[in-house]
């Protein structure tokens, strides 16, 4: 769906993006993470046909973004990090304008506008002037605009920036919904937990270079080097710690009150065997789960140079 090959973008002497390659399949949700000035916006703008790459190619559904610009524009939905709205125009007119600009036939526009308004929870604001909307609503309106032409690929540049926690959650829910609709999404952010829930792939970019990129789980393993288990017991925590420590390939066992965290050095550990071992030894296991990937952790580790 979206393929970036050896992308490089220079601004004069400054290299904003350096030899960046990635590939997104249909239905992928790719979290693009990096600190300020890392080159996220630059990469996304190249994909959105708004910047000429200095080197490298970007293809959307096999169309080169620098050559088949108009076709690509019809297939992508781009939401910039900063954007403005027109004066003296109502929400429905704003959407109608963009729908027409995307060559959606007039008969279909009204229903599509109603649909995207519903999806973004703006139905009640249909006849309100755009400049009177709050920041969060404008953000959602922009997202609604992005969805009008039913794009296959969504390029969202920090869609939740500048929003209050509640609005963030709302945008996140919306993105999850889009994910279930089967869209390919490239979403950037510098706030990690924001992306953790719904991305199946992430890439971490720093100073124009993609340091890590791939499956969320894979990256976690790469960073953590193995599976982690979190076990809560009713009693006898010491005994459990002793038992678990003797398992093969255990890296560390940490105890916190009634909770034990085990870290293995590999993935090839059967959860059921561990559980059985504990139960056989008469321990009362209250909960048993794999440790959740904490993107923030990955990010801190990666940018500290743990993985490179």
């Amino acid at each position: 769906m979206l393929t970036i090959e050896h992308l490089r973008k220079d601004y004069g002497n400054l290299t904003a993006v350096k030899d960046l390659s990635l590939h997104l399949e249909k239905g992928d949700v790719y979290g693009f993470i990096g600190p300020n000035g890392a080159g996220k916006t630059t990469t996304i703008k190249v994909c959105a046909t708004l910047l000429e790459p200095t080197q490298g190619k970007v293809y959307v559904e096999g169309f080169d973004v620098t050559k088949k610009t108009n076709e690509v524009r019809g297939m992508i939905g781009y939401m910039p990090d900063f954007f403005g709205v027109y004066d003296d125009i109502m929400v429905w007119e704003y959407l109608d304008f963009f729908a027409a600009a995307y060559k959606i036939p007039r008969e279909r526009r009204q229903t599509i506008i109603d649909d995207v308004l519903e999806l973004t929870d703006l139905t009640g604001k249909r006849d309100i002037y755009v400049e009177a909307l709050s920041r969060g609503m404008k953000q959602r309106l922009c997202l609604a605009k992005t969805l009008l032409h039913d794009p296959k690929v969504l390029l969202l540049d920090e869609p939740a920036s500048g929003l209050d926690p509640r609005a963030r959650v709302e945008i996140k829910e919306l993105l999850k919904e889009l994910k279930t609709m089967g869209k390919t999404i490239l979403v950037s952010s510098h706030i990690l937990p924001e992306l953790a829930d719904f991305c199946n792939k992430i890439g971490i970019i720093e100073q124009g270079e993609l340091i890590v990129s791939g499956d969320v789980g894979e990256i976690m393993r790469k960073v953590q080097g193995g599976k982690g288990l979190q076990i809560t017991l009713l009693a006898d925590v010491e005994k459990a710690v002793a038992l678990l420590s003797q398992l093969p390939k255990v890296k560390s066992v940490e105890q916190d009150n009634l909770c034990v965290c085990v870290q293995f050095s590999t993935d090839e550990v059967e959860n059921s065997e561990v559980l059985q071992l504990l139960i056989k030894n008469g321990l009362q296991v209250q909960s048993f789960s794999e440790t959740q990937v904490d993107l923030e952790d990955i990010f801190m580790k990666v940018t500290r140079g743990v993985v490179s």
């Binding site: 708004l50 080197q55 524009r73 992508i76 910039p80 003296d88 125009i89 007039r106």
Partner: protein, 556 residues
């Protein structure tokens, strides 16, 4: 919801802009001010007139007098308002989208540059037309007084609409060339006012008999005075609105094509349209300029001819070379720059945006310009010999009969072609040199430097010579040969430089020939240097800077 009508325009930009422009108080304030200014002007004029004529003259004369006065006043004011309002309305059309940060969203849609440029122009233009219709009741008042006819009023309105379109196209162009609204508005005003002043000045120089002529007809303020009077086109007569109706849309389309090509975030190649329209404009303008003379003057005098057609035309051509004779070196780094510029000269490429076709296009322009000047000789000769039927004699006839009183004989046209062609070719050489050195911009700077030097230095030398009374004949005095206008004026007015210490004594070739040869030599130096520089720097030209290590990585 008025989706219906606006939507049928098939231009989302236009329908959105029309819809929002009329919202709120802005539109009504502008409309109110517009009508207010007209009313105040008329009121004051009426008061003045009444105070002066209180003593009483025959009422019949007075009435038509008032009507004429009002008519002129209303349309002069409207012409000024159109020149003032149109740039303000349209010059911000695209720059404002940058400033509001809405442009990227717009560029990402499936709109094409044509739709955007047309939508932005038309939404402003229709507003100006709407303002113009607000003055209809006042124009009707003039009719009631008499002294002015319906066709006069009709053509005045019609031409004001065309001028609004023309100024609006300039504004859209500035808007797509620049990033800031303030700059775009200032540049548009500068362009509009220099246009208005240039047309008046050329007209004033061109004809002592009457301010009414083809160039005058291209100025809204002049047009209003003579709106229904015919123009003399050689010995024929054409309606006064014809030059405007032909040239203003032509120039507008040229500007709009340029605006489309330069619209940010779009890659369309309008070079064919731009170069083609420019060439067409050169021909039509030159023919119109040489044809205009007041009734009774069959052939304009040398001075008029010089001032009205040759000098302004050639200056405009030379300046056009800045953009049209320059370009960047090719990305694929062929073995020879000159070889690349000569090879593969498909006719279409002459009208492309590349450096490659530029030099052929320059020669073509010089030919078109000289050829258009020649119509003066052909049509003029046929008129003089009485055979006014048809479009005049074919060219060979004119060559055979260069009537003594003609301002320009056919042979002179060849000389003009050689001179202008040599200068344009030299500029092409500088364009190539610029490309070899670095880029199109360097080419433009080089040409501009030569243009300014060759126009200013001879003038300065001349003034210094006149004020000091020196004997002349010093080497610096021969810089006169560098100025294209000196050669041109010597062609049109052979006795002008006779016996001056600035020029070589009679056995030497005429001024135009020396100038042409000098420029040809300069052109060869330019092209030669370009090739040498290109060869030494070929490896670096247009090569992206990649360090060896990264290059290896990319290759892996």
């Amino acid at each position: 919801m008025t989706v219906g009508f606006l939507d049928r325009l098939q231009n989302p930009v236009l329908s959105k802009d029309l819809r929002t422009r009329m919202r709120g108080a802005k539109a009504f304030v502008v409309q109110g001010v517009y009508v207010g200014v007209l009313v105040v002007m008329i009121g004051l004029s009426y008061l003045m007139w009444w105070l002066v004529h209180r003593a009483g003259v025959s009422p019949l004369i007075i009435s038509s007098d008032v009507g004429r006065r009002f008519y002129l006043l209303i349309f002069m004011t409207q012409a000024a308002l159109v020149a003032l309002i149109t740039p303000a309305l349209i010059a911000g059309a695209i720059t404002l989208e940058h400033e509001q940060r809405t442009y990227e969203l717009l560029a990402c849609t499936r709109l094409v540059p044509r739709t955007i440029v047309a939508g932005k122009l038309l939404s402003g233009w229709l507003f100006v037309v709407m303002l113009l219709t607000c003055s209809l009741p006042m124009a009707a008042l003039c009719l009631m007084f008499g002294g002015v006819s319906v066709p006069e009023i009709f053509w005045s309105y019609f031409m004001l609409c065309l001028f609004a379109l023309f100024f609006g196209s300039m504004a859209v162009l500035c808007s797509s060339l620049l990033k800031r609204s303030a700059l775009a508005v200032v540049l548009t005003y500068a362009a509009v006012f220099s246009y208005l002043i240039t047309t008046v000045v050329i007209q004033a120089f061109a004809s002592q008999a009457s301010p009414w002529g083809a160039v005058g007809a291209l100025n809204p303020f002049v047009f209003i005075f003579y709106s229904t009077e015919p123009l003399s086109f050689f010995s024929f007569s054409i309606p006064g609105w014809l030059p405007g109706v032909v040239l203003l849309p032509l120039a507008s389309v040229l500007f709009l094509n340029w605006a489309m090509e330069r619209l940010p975030h779009f890659t369309v190649n309008r070079a064919f349209a731009i170069r083609g329209l420019f060439a067409l404009l050169v021909v039509v303008l030159t023919v119109l300029a040489v044809s205009h003379n007041a009734p009774g003057y069959l052939i304009p005098s040398s001075y008029q001819f010089l001032a009205s057609a040759v000098i302004p035309g050639s200056t405009a051509l030379l300046l056009a070379a800045l953009l049209l004779a320059t370009g960047n070196a090719p990305n694929h780094r062929p073995h020879s720059l000159l070889g690349w510029m000569v090879s593969g000269l498909h006719p279409r490429r002459i009208f492309s945006n590349e450096l490659r076709g530029g030099w052929v296009y320059m020669i073509l322009l010089a030919g078109l310009f000289a050829g258009a000047l020649l119509t003066n000789a052909t049509v003029g000769t046929s008129a003089a010999t009485g055979s006014t039927s048809g479009a005049g004699l074919p060219l060979p006839a004119a060559v055979a009969k260069p009537g003594g009183s003609l301002a320009l004989a056919a042979a002179d046209a060849w000389h003009i072609f050689a001179l202008i062609g040599a200068v344009l070719l030299c500029y092409s050489g500088l364009g190539a040199l610029g490309a070899a050195l670095r880029s199109r911009t360097v080419g433009i700077v080089l040409i501009l430097a030569l243009f300014v030097l060759s126009h200013l230095v001879p003038g300065a030398v001349w003034i210094a010579y006149n004020s000091s009374g020196a004997s002349g004949g010093e080497p610096i005095h021969y810089s006169l040969y560098l100025a294209p206008y000196v050669g041109l004026s010597a062609i049109c007015h052979p006795s002008l430089y006779n016996g001056l210490p600035f020029v070589l004594a009679p056995p030497a070739p005429p001024i135009w020939a020396v100038t042409a040869i000098t420029y040809l030599l300069l052109a060869m130096v330019g092209f030669g240097l370009a090739e040498i520089l290109y060869q030494t720097r070929r490896k670096n030209i247009a090569k992206p800077q990649v360090s060896p290590q990264e290059g290896a990585q990319a290759g892996a």
